[in-house]
Symmetry: C2
Subunit: 125 residues, 2 copies
């Protein structure tokens, strides 16, 4: 693949999916990426990058807003917020790893919704 | 755009570029996204997501390795590392915002290399 730095689109491949059922938060890693989980059970905290898949194309075009939608606070650009509405709807959360069951990671503290594609996991501690 | 959660590719649009010259680290935001910088000068720390554009297609397929390349340490999956080699070569760093000059942010602490496409900025503090 040629190096791209010309502003053209870049391609992300989902590596898994978020499943939420009640209090349970699970990250299912697709079989093609199972090797990337080797020794992950030794981690306590993980950074999870995921795709906020419910955002529409129009919402990707919203570039400013009020912090947490609070109209008493001055308008800010989305790069000065953590709003889900942003040009590239990537969420980043640090979660606690509770345990691994096969290719599934049981976690707590994930703010993704059920069905969100997972795009990366990095160790924190 | 239809919601995608089927494992198909997702499209990222670069919002800027990293420029490094000596000690100077700058993030140039493309004019189309300038509105997203509104009031960012009030931030002290920013999380920057960028694309590690020098990684080859083959390097995206490497799923495990030794921590920091140290062969005395046991092999780990890339999701249990912070290695740049990973299926989606997205880097995440928290930087200090020194100042804004027009559509350019002068920062310190960024571990991206010159020419890396920037894909998101989120406020930390």
């Amino acid at each position: 693949m040629k190096a791209k730095s010309d502003g053209g689109p870049l391609e992300i491949r989902p590596i898994g999916l978020v499943h939420c059922a009640g209090e349970e938060q699970a990250i299912e890693i697709f079989p093609d990426y199972a090797e990337a989980l080797l020794r992950i059970d030794q981690a306590a905290e993980l950074q999870v990058l995921y795709w906020m898949h419910r955002l529409s194309e129009a919402e990707r075009g919203i570039l400013s807003g009020h912090p947490r939608g609070d109209r008493s606070k001055p308008h800010r650009g989305v790069f000065a917020l953590r709003s889900p509405m942003r040009p590239n709807p990537i969420g980043s959360t640090t979660v606690r790893l509770l345990r691994r069951e096969g290719n599934t990671l049981l976690v707590s503290g994930l703010d993704a919704i059920d069905g969100s594609p997972v795009i990366d996991i990095k160790i924190v501690s």
